[in-house]
């Protein structure tokens, strides 16, 4: 299957670098979001962007550098699964914070300091 993907990519003229640039941009947007956003849910979404960047990287490397091995593609599937579990868990905790404090803004959740 990976060989097929590779063939398709080559015929459409997409190179490995283009995938890597896409993933680096996506990752950077995610990092920016985590640092700049103040709402816990939006921070989580930014983390998801970073994880998706990793998945793109993994699949691109798998297809272009080791077409006979599926490790990168399997890794991407595991990342998707774990990300789903992470969001479920995180939303539960955000919900508890929201119930107890009436806000999901991380700047206002600041009773613990130094």
């Amino acid at each position: 299957m990976t060989a097929l993907l590779l063939q398709e990519s080559i015929t459409t003229g997409v190179e490995l670098q283009q995938y890597l640039v896409l993933s680096a941009v996506l990752f950077s947007i995610g990092v920016y979001g985590v640092l700049a956003r103040r709402n816990a849910v939006l921070i989580l979404m930014s983390v998801e962007l970073m994880l998706n960047a990793v998945s793109i990287n993994m699949v691109a490397f798998a297809v272009y550098t080791a077409p006979s091995m599926f490790v990168g593609i399997i890794f991407a599937i595991f990342i998707i699964t774990i990300a789903a579990a992470e969001v479920g868990l995180a939303l539960g905790i955000v919900l508890r914070v929201f119930r107890n404090r009436g806000t999901a803004n991380v700047d206002e959740v600041d009773s613990l300091k130094w």
């Binding site: 890597l20 970073m50 990342i79 508890r96 914070v97 404090r101 613990l112």
Partner: protein
């Protein structure tokens, strides 16, 4: 695809037993509602001890499961280490959990699940497995930290831990993807082979990958500048979970680091050694200095543990077989001493409901045994002779010194002296200050807590006076990493 791979499931029996124990504990909690809830803790602890005994049967094995999970003396060492820690934590939380939570089964189940994750981090020899184990440990800990649903502090600690933890694992993963792209493999041994060739154009990609991996692992072990979540998660969590965060989660991080850097990245030692040396220096200085101005005991222990992480990171920076041994010795000494301190904190919190340092006043009169254990364990953490901390720190510092990191050792010894000051602050409250008005009476310390504290103190003294036995075990455990 599977020909030639060893698919011997009997190697994983301890993990299967732990999963069975999880199901049994949750089942008992649901189907035997009349049973006293403290029994769940005793059953969990007994089960964990039994699993530890089973794992001991794998001593001297050197085998692997499909090249992914290796069962050798290193794995056996950490299996016993993590299982023992979890057993102590289960016993220490028995009374408190039975009083406060409606379904304590899940609490013990999560502790055991996180133990499986921690073992996986030490045993795996492949990035994907290591990552999944790491997440199994972290996810269980996120839930445990925020387990007190209606306590705003617990929620807050959990939220901060979770957001930063998720951010860190994303970084860790991106680093892994870069390393995978360069070497074409996720197996440690094949990564080492791939990095042996001159990396040429990929030099920057490899450096970037290493930086991101160090960042991700730095978050997990709470190294400066990635430590911000630590004090908040420690203060917000239930006291036994704080103890658990400080031991298992850190030890697992170091177990993974040790294998990863010795098996996969040893060939590019010079490229990451300086990063970790710098982080170690910052961690020692900042952890110990900020600890000086803490007034909450859990926050103080958080910064003290950050300082200890700095000492352990030195061993990773100067990685060779000697420092690896010293690191494991120090981990064991730190685990026993830290646990002893936390048993005292937990027992005191159970009886008085307070966790400020000033609330420890008059402990010598109100609970003499606990006070003496506290003193011994704190002296051990500070590294005074007679106690475990002295021997383990001495071995650690000496092995790093031999590698030529003189400036790190200078910082380490100075900050050790600083740490004595804040440990003595706690002892001043416990021994010199008189109890508050109307609180002079002796406290009824439960036998279990006294017993645990005394047993851990015996451990601290044993390692301090006869360290040879520990050295022998650790030597066997690290030999397999450096062939």
């Amino acid at each position: 695809m599977t020909e030639g791979l060893n698919l011997d499931y009997s190697l994983l029996i301890p993990e299967f037993l732990l999963v069975g124990l999880v199901v049994a504990i949750v089942g008992l909690d649901l189907y035997a509602p009349k049973m006293k809830k403290t029994w769940l803790a005793y059953i969990a602890a007994a089960g964990l001890v039994a699993v530890g005994a089973v794992s001991l049967g794998y001593w001297d094995t050197d085998d692997n499961f499909a090249n992914i999970i290796v069962v050798d003396d290193y794995t056996t060492f950490f299996r016993v280490f993590f299982v023992a820690t979890a057993a102590v934590i289960c016993l220490a939380s028995a009374t408190m959990v039975a009083e406060k939570f409606r379904h304590p089964g899940e609490y013990y189940a999560l502790i055991i699940l996180s133990t499986i994750g921690a073992i996986g981090m030490a045993a795996s020899r492949e990035l994907m497995t290591a990552y999944i184990s790491l997440e199994l440990l972290s996810f269980s800990l996120y839930v445990l930290v925020s387990y007190q649903k209606f306590d705003a502090k617990s929620n807050e600690g959990g939220l901060k831990y979770l957001l930063l933890g998720a951010f860190a694992s994303a970084m860790f993963l991106y680093g892994m993807s870069l390393i995978y792209g360069i070497t074409g493999s996720t197996y440690y041994s094949e990564i080492a082979v791939g990095l042996q060739n001159p990396t040429g154009d990929f030099q920057w990609a490899m450096l970037m990958g290493l930086v991101l991996i160090v960042t991700g692992l730095g978050f997990k072990v709470a190294a400066v500048p990635f430590h911000m979540w630590t004090p908040d998660a420690y203060e917000g969590a239930f006291p036994p979970i704080t103890a658990y965060l400080g031991t298992t989660s850190k030890a697992a991080g170091f177990a993974l680091m040790l294998v990863l850097f010795s098996q996969a990245f040893e060939v590019v030692h010079d490229d990451w050694s300086w990063m970790i040396a710098g982080i170690a220096a910052a961690t020692m200085i900042l952890g110990n200095l900020v600890a000086l101005q803490q007034h909450n005991i859990k926050r103080l222990m958080a910064y003290s543990s950050i300082g200890q992480v700095g000492y352990m990171l030195m061993a990773i920076a100067a990685l060779n077989s000697d420092t690896a041994q010293a690191l494991l010795v120090h981990l064991v000494g730190y685990m026993v001493s830290n646990m002893a301190v936390f048993i005292v904190i937990i027992a005191w919190y159970n009886m008085t409901g307070k966790d400020e340092i000033a609330d420890f006043r008059g402990m010598r009169e109100r609970a003499p045994l606990l006070a003496w254990v506290l003193a011994g364990a704190l002296f051990s953490l500070a590294g005074l002779p007679l106690f475990a901390g002295f021997v383990t720190k001495f071995v650690l510092f000496q092995s790093v010194w031999n590698e030529g990191f003189y400036w790190l050792i200078a910082i380490a010894t100075t900050t050790s002296v600083v740490s004595l000051y804040y440990y003595l602050q706690i002892m001043r409250q416990a021994f010199v200050e008189k109890p508050a008005e109307g609180e002079e009476s002796r406290l009824p310390v439960p036998l279990l807590m006294n017993g645990l504290a005394a047993a851990l103190m015996v451990g601290v003294l044993y390692i301090g006076l006869y360290p040879q036995a520990l050295f022998d075990v650790v030597e066997a455990a690290t030999d397999v990493l450096f062939v």
